[in-house]
Point group: C2
Chain length 369, copies 2
C-alpha cells in the first residue's frame, strides 16, 4: 500500500503560518486540536540532525489557548489541576496535568499566568475548552472561558537565542526557563516564553492576531539565513530521546499523572479545590501500579509506532510501547512505554511485540537526553 | 508541492476495521475524534458513482459514542440540547444539536435512546465527552458518562437492504428511518439503525466490542460480492448534494442551530433545562441574521475547499463557502455556504472568491438531492 495522503478540509484548520509551512516544502501533517501540525520537512532524520545543530521555526499554532478571564479565573484554574498554583506569579509558566474526577488525565498543558485574573492554558490534543467551560457553568463561576486568536510559533535549537535576539533584541536572552516577557514586533505586543517541545532550548512566541503571523514568520526566516534557519516541527526522535511525553500517544484519560511520571507536578494534599483531588489521594500515597519508562529496543530500526505494541515477559503482557524511533545519536531504538511495577526496574529485560516480530528490549534508568 | 501525507501515530487511533480499510486500498484519511476516517478509495468521483449504484461498507468508527447511564441520564441529555426529548421512546434515534450557554453549537450528533436511563450520543468531531462529563459533575447529577467500546460501521447505497438482509435476516428490512433494533451476529447483540451520512439509504451497525469488528467486516464483504460491494466512506460530493452538514466545516461553536438551518430540531420554548435555552429564545423568535444555504458555483470544477472562501456582493463580504465539489450528476459545483439575510433569497447572484479567481454563484432554493 502507498503511504496514505491527508484529505484537507476546512475542518482541519490551517494556521496563520500555513503559507510559510507549504512554501518550505512540508511533506506530512498530523492533526492536533482540529488543526494542521507539520511532522516532516526534509526527512525525520534530517530534521533531527538540523534541530540539534542549528535553529528551526515551528508552526505549533495547534497548541491552542484556553483563556480564563475574570474574578474566578484562579479558582477555576486550581479546580482543573492537582498542582498547587498558589505560589505562581504573573510572568510564569507551569506544566499542569489536568485531571477529571477519577484522576484520569484530560490534557497536559502549560498554564501561562498573565495576571491574577487572566490565564492562558496552552493545550495538548483534546478539546479542553469544553471541560473548562462546562465546569465554569456548572459551578456558576464568574469567569469567561474562550479560545482567543493566539497561535504559538516556536523557535528551537542551539542557535535560538541568537536568532531571537536578532529580531526581538538582546533582552530576550535574559528570559529564564518557563518565564515569559512581553516584546514588541512591528508595534504589536508578543508574549514570549523560554519553553518548547524539544530539549535543544528555545522560545515560544504567543502570536496574538492571525494577520501578524506571516510577517513574523518571514522576518524570522530572513533574519536566520546566516544561522541556517529552516522550517521545522516537533521531532519524533528528539522528543523521545528527551522524554517529552505526548498526550494521546503516551497517555490517555485512563492514566493518572502518577502513572505518567508526573507525580512531581502534583501537590495533591494542598491543591484544595482540584476536582480530581479525592481520587488522587490514594495513588499519591501508595504510588501507581504501572508507570511510564524509557525503553531501549534492540535490533534494527523499528517501524512507525501507530498502535500500542505489547510489552511481554514470559508470555504475559506487562505493558505497552506508545512511541518509538531509531536514534542515530544513541544507536538504538528509543521508546516510551507504560510498564507494570513487576517489570519497571532499570535493567529489566523484556520483549516488545513489534509488528513483524518480537524484539528484545531493556527498561532504562532515565531518558536519553 | 506534492500532496502531503498523513503522519500516523497511536494518537490518531486506528479502528476495529482499519485492517479491512487498508486491505481495500484506502488512499487518504482525515482525522475525526482523534481517529482515522477514510476519505478516498478509488477516487472521490468513482466512489461517488459506486455509492449511488451499489452498496458500500464504511468504517465510521470515528463516530464515537458518549454513553449516559443512570437515574439522571434523561435529565442530562435534555440539558445538552434545545430539542424537546420528552416524546422520544427507547428504540428511537434523534438528531440533536448540542449547544453551549450562548446557544453556540458544540456538536451535532445523533442521540440513541437505548432505555430511559441509558443513552448513546453518536458524536461529530469534537470532544463532547468533556462537555457532558463536566456538566454532570458541576450539576452533581447521578449519571455515569463514558466512551464505550462501540464503533459504528455503516452500510450505504441502494443495495444496502439486500446486503443487510443477507447477513442479519429479512427483519432488518422492516426498520423505519431513525429507528433501531437489536440483531444477532455470531452470538453477539448488535444495535442496528436505519441511518447514515448519505442520501442513498442504509444502516449503521453499532459494533460493541472491537474484537468482532473484522469478522463483521469480512462477512459483509463476502456476502456482498454479487452486489458489487466495496469499501467506501462518506463522500464529499454526495453529502453536499444531499445537504448533509459537517460540524467543523459548515458550522462551528460560533453558530446557533438556527443559523445552520436546524431550527426545526429546536423546541426552545419547551426544552426546559437546556443550558443554552435562554440564549436561544431571542433567535428562535426573531430568526438568525445569517443562515446556511445551498449554493451553485459556476465555471469549471473548483479546487478542494480547505479554508473558508468569501462570498462577495459589490465588494462586500456577505458570507463564506465552507464545502464545495464538482457534481457530475448536476453538472455544476455544489457548495454549502453561510449567507447574510440580505443575500440569502433563492436566485440571488453572488461572487465566490475561490483561490485562483472569483466565480459567479447563485443561492439555491434547496439542496440537490
Amino acid at each position: 500500500m502507498n503511504a496514505p495522503l491527508i484529505a484537507l478540509s476546512r475542518r482541519l484548520r490551517r494556521t496563520p503560518f500555513s503559507d510559510g509551512v507549504e512554501a518550505a516544502g512540508v511533506k506530512a501533517f498530523t492533526v492536533y486540536n482540529h488543526m494542521l501540525l507539520p511532522t516532516v520537512f526534509r526527512s525525520v532524520q534530517e530534521d533531527y540532525r538540523h534541530l540539534k545543530e542549528a535553529v528551526q521555526v515551528w508552526d505549533v499554532a495547534c497548541e491552542r489557548q484556553v483563556e480564563l478571564r475574570g474574578p474566578d479565573a484562579a479558582r477555576l484554574m486550581q479546580m482543573l489541576t492537582p498542582r498547587d498554583l498558589r505560589g505562581m506569579t504573573p510572568g510564569q509558566c507551569s506544566y499542569v496535568p489536568i485531571v477529571d474526577e477519577t484522576g484520569g488525565m484530560l490534557n497536559d498543558p502549560v498554564a501561562v499566568k498573565l495576571a491574577e485574573d487572566r490565564w492562558w492554558i496552552s493545550i495538548a490534543d483534546s478539546d479542553l475548552l469544553y471541560w473548562v467551560r462546562a465546569t465554569a457553568i456548572g459551578w456558576r463561576l464568574d469567569v469567561l472561558v474562550d479560545e482567543p486568536d493566539v497561535s504559538p510559533l516556536a523557535v528551537q535549537g542551539p542557535k535560538a537565542d541568537d536568532l531571537m535576539a536578532h529580531v526581538f533584541g538582546d533582552r530576550v536572552r535574559d528570559l529564564r526557563f518557563f518565564r515569559f516577557g512581553v516584546f514588541d514586533f512591528q508595534g504589536r505586543d508578543m508574549v514570549i516564553a523560554r519553553s518548547g517541545y524539544s530539549k535543544q532550548g528555545g522560545f515560544e512566541i504567543y502570536v496574538e492576531g492571525s494577520d501578524i503571523g506571516m510577517p513574523l514568520w518571514n522576518t524570522l526566516m530572513e533574519a536566520g539565513k546566516s544561522m541556517d534557519v529552516h522550517a521545522g516541527c516537533p521531532n519524533l526522535i528528539e522528543r523521545i530521546e528527551g522524554g517529552l511525553l505526548s498526550y494521546g500517544n503516551d497517555m490517555t484519560d485512563d492514566n493518572t499523572p502518577h502513572e505518567c511520571g508526573l507525580g512531581r507536578f502534583c501537590n495533591t494534599h494542598t491543591a484544595i479545590g482540584c476536582i480530581g483531588r479525592d481520587a488522587l489521594l490514594r495513588v499519591a500515597k501508595e504510588g501507581p501500579v504501572q508507570q511510564i519508562r524509557a525503553i531501549s529496543i534492540d535490533g534494527p530500526p523499528v517501524p512507525n509506532c501507530d498502535r500500542w505494541w505489547p510489552i511481554m515477559a514470559n508470555d504475559t503482557q506487562v505493558g505497552r510501547i506508545s512511541s518509538a524511533a531509531w536514534s542515530p545519536d544513541f544507536e538504538t531504538n528509543v521508546a516510551v512505554g507504560m510498564v507494570r511495577m513487576t517489570h519497571w526496574d532499570p535493567g529489566t529485560e523484556i520483549m516488545v511485540n513489534v509488528p513483524g516480530g518480537p524484539h528484545r528490549a531493556t527498561v532504562q534508568e532515565r531518558f536519553w537526553a
